[in-house]
Amino acid sequence: MGKIADATGIHFRMLNKSKGPAIWSPRCQSDREWYSRDAARRILGQENLTTIRDTIVDICIENRRLTAIVTGGGLRIDCRAVVICTGTFLNAIMHTGRYTSTGGRYEEPASSGLSYKLASLGLKMGRLKTGTPPRVDRHSIDYDETEHQEGDKDPIPFSFQTKEIRNPQISMFLTHTNSKTHSILQQGFDDSPMFTGRIKGVGPRYCPSIEDKLYRFPGRERHQIFLEPEGYESDIVYVNGFSTSLPQEIQQRAIRTIPGLQRVKMLRPGYAVEYDYFPPHQLEHSLKSKFVEGLYFAGQVNGTSGYEEAAAQGLMAGINAALAVRGQSPFILKRNEAYIGVLIDDLINKGTDEPYRIFTSRAEYRLLLRQDNADSRLMKMGYEFGLVPNDSIKRLRQKEGRIQRAKEFLAVHSVRPSVVNPVLERAGSQSITENETLGKLLKRPEISISDLMSVESIGQSDAMLALLSDREAMDRVEIEVKYEGYLKRQEEQIEHLKRNESIAIPHDFVFDSVKSISKEGRERLANVRPRSLGQASRISGVTSADISVLMIHLRS
């Protein structure tokens, strides 16, 4: 996915640059058509992979173990593992105002059958909703009325295997709703499937529809709208921030009150889609069903939002399905190893009643889970599964060597006041009177690594020279030295909490037998069946008193 994003991206931007490096997050918008072509090309060209386009109508299970699937085309495929990633298509209904139609996406039909089959296995099922904004004609926008937002000058690729981004970047356009927009939208509330109760599914809190935003933040006078061209050649512009299921006529009138869109031509209205999902507490951390061997679930069917969350689960479910077939133990990322770990752990323990989105605020170890060290955190794991090529891992090792040498150099090398004071003064930093190590100087907020490298004796040292050709390594060195104290404390925190993670709960532990755990706690524990005390403590509805009781039971 990262590779395809890099190949087809038309707008790259590092978000949250105003915050610290742990919060920076790379965003890329791809050419929609091109992305989908490139993805299909790679999948179809993948060795040892057969692609069949069909519907699953039945899954065969013997002794709680999956044995085969049957397609609508009448094909029976024997298999030991299946990953269900049905997105928003199971029993999907699309809503625009009072008008509804079946379908999981514009011009794509819904899938029935499978839901009932899975439910008949005893799996619990629920309804969720998500939405999409209207699409408009790019030629009908008055761009002068919008704020142009260019991509980053020096875009950072998603994949560590991409050396650089060569695509020319196009701008996005920022505009805002206003009170006029809001009052028109409110006229449609009576017809909104959200408010008339016709949509039963719960919508996302984080990418809410525009009507949700008005309802939840009545005090806000305006909301951000991004106009995003869908590609270099495409005439279609995605009105990001204006997701809605209000009647088409209301959408039309409301959108034309927005600066830049007064004469806009709406190509197709926004709509909400409602679909079946399977509450994820029924899964193990490997994303395998707790009840059926070989049955895996990934993506929106687990109650997450699409895109990144779905892709991450697809990767993990795929790896684990393959490992299971090979008879190997599952691959599980921990909360302190990756956002993927946070995502899956949250899904299983906390459940979700709205499409789950991953957020910085959800990751308690966020200072360690940075995009700049993702390669060091995860690439070796991918390499072990044969998912990362040799030369990438070699480059990673070289990069880590450069980082290590530079950090050591900065830690031990000190400078005389006369040498470094001019640089400090230029940066508005207090001058020094005695020799000081470079590491200490770099910890000053106003001093950057380039400031230090402008001192000849530092910049010309071998350790630092090596960074000049490797910008990512240089950034890492700077971050890890600057924030060393915080990073250490975060690691201590992890150590501290590890103890509870290491207290295992036996597979066959009967939570209901522990009467001194609260009734709700027992129910939740029995539902999720945590494997460690640490996991138990993260289950919503389980109190700290419950955990104390459980701990004493487990320590027998």
Binding site: N16, R489, Q493, S516, A545, S548, V549
Partner: protein, 464 residues
């Protein structure tokens, strides 16, 4: 104590071992009422009794022999100390008879409780939190009114509520900071920086106050130690005896009589003072006295208060007195007692003695012999507590575990404050605030390890 918690039925003597009018045997667990009922012969059966009712009857053993006449008080879960079904048996208070009652209960299949097991069950059943459990221990060991009051407040949950309140406010700040991270691209600032700083500062002050209260809380629990020091034959032992109002130390007019340091506790207005009578400080060649002097100096080093006794009659002693003041651990906790005041002429006292030393030192004129000034001396000792400027209002930290956790929380908050003040991005402050929150959670047992639990409940006596 690393034992599985079942609700099996346990029994223990709840009153101390010894002769008394009554002894109370406590039984708790799912089978408590039935187990006692089997051995009970009264007007009605205990199994049918409602909670909070007392029943007179005879206790028999399994063979049917009459053991004792008892009152059985029945408690129905969850309305009991442990939160389980319980029976409290009041029997006759002899050592032998109460042991026999206990053995009889055990013989009907009830297990002897471990130290603190009743309280541990109360904790595990959610009746009390960890700090309340500790308060039970504090209440039992309370030796003074002030200490009892503080423990009772803690047991009633006032301390836990305060911790929960601070923690709740920290969680609010932290969640806002974290939420802001998610919206940073939209430029939504949920909490202005000044407000964050103000809030952290406020909570920092509150935690600091609680930490400060530990010193006072500790005094209410453990009392203050007072080293009575001075030159030989200044009358230290006489003052020691006068404060105790008994002849505890051997008093002679031979300098150097006291060789060993004597220690005795005295309760003054609800506060315990641990008095150390020490050997007079002087150069000597007597090996026993040398050791005595060494012990005196070490007592002085450990003491909270230095009570310096000066012989008012002998003017030449004063030089040496000044030198001894240098050795005070806390200059604000020094009392100078001019002893043998009965031997001096009144005029000389006023002009010659007082104001001799620095003004911040408390001075008292005493005659251990006549009792003159002893009550003033007691008041001076009490004022040493007030020197810390804190009242026993009820939220004192009495427990070193609580103090340590509060100190960790404070350190983390200080770091958070600096982080925010230096304009560093919110995620760093969030880390520090989280650490503070975790430290506070440890106090009430929300984040607890089993070692911690065992440690705390292990401190109890059996039957609690």
């Amino acid at each position: 104590m690393a034992r599985v918690y079942h609700d099996d039925t346990i029994v223990a003597r709840a009153t101390p071992l010894g002769e008394g009018a009554l002894a109370v045997i406590r039984v708790s667990g799912s089978n408590a009422i039935a187990a006692v009922d089997v051995l009970f012969r009264g007007k009605s059966s205990l199994s049918e009794a409602a909670g909070y009712t007392a029943h007179y009857g005879r206790l028999i053993n399994l063979k049917g022999d009459h053991i004792d006449e008892i009152i059985a008080t029945v408690f129905r879960k969850p309305l009991s100390y442990t939160g389980e079904d319980s029976v409290e048996i009041s029997c006759h208070g002899g050592i032998y008879i109460s042991q026999l009652v206990l053995d009889t209960i055990v013989s009907s299949g009830v297990r002897q409780a471990e130290p603190g097991e009743f309280t541990k069950r109360a904790f595990l059943n959610g009746r009390i939190d960890l700090s309340q459990a500790e308060a039970v221990a504090g209440l039992i060991s309370a030796r003074s009114e002030a200490s009892r009051r503080i423990s009772l407040n803690q047991l009633e949950g006032k301390f836990s509520q305060k911790i929960a309140e601070i923690r709740g406010r920290l969680l609010d700040v932290c969640s806002l900071i974290e939420l802001e991270l998610d919206f940073s691209e939209e430029g939504i600032a949920l909490l202005p920086r000044e407000e964050v700083l103000g809030l952290i500062n406020l909570l920092q002050n509150e935690i600091e106050q609680m930490i400060d209260s530990y010193r006072v809380g500790k005094i209410y629990r453990d009392g203050l130690s007072v080293a009575i020091v001075g030159k030989p034959n200044a009358g230290k032992s006489s003052i020691f005896n006068a404060l105790l109002a008994e002849n505890r130390a051997i008093v002679t007019d031979i300098p150097g009589t006291t060789r060993d340091s004597l220690e005795e506790n005295v309760l003054i207005d609800g506060i315990w003072f641990r008095l150390h009578d020490t050997a007079g400080l002087r150069e000597t060649n007597d090996p026993a006295e040398i050791e005595g002097v060494a012990r005196a100096r070490s007592a002085l080093k450990m003491a909270d208060v230095m009570l310096l006794v000066v012989d008012s009659f002998l003017e030449r002693e004063r030089e040496g007195t000044l030198a001894l003041l240098e050795e005070a651990q806390r200059p604000d906790r020094v009392i100078v007692a001019y002893n043998k005041i009965d031997l001096c002429e009144p005029k000389r006292i006023e002009t010659g003695l007082l104001k001799m030393i620095a003004s911040h030192v408390d001075e008292v004129l005493v005659s251990a012999k006549t009792g003159f000034g002893v009550s003033t001396l007691r008041q001076k000792l009490l004022s040493m507590v007030a020197n810390d400027g804190l009242e026993a209002s009820g939220l004192q930290v009495m427990n070193v575990r609580h103090r340590d956790a509060l100190c960790r929380a404070l350190t983390a908050l200080k770091s958070a404050f600096n982080t925010v003040e230096n304009g560093v991005s919110g995620e760093f402050a969030a880390l520090d605030i989280r650490m503070a929150i975790d430290s506070l959670a440890e106090i009430v047992g929300e984040i607890s390890s089993d070692e911690l639990l065992n440690n705390i409940f292990g401190k109890f006596c059996i039957g609690k």
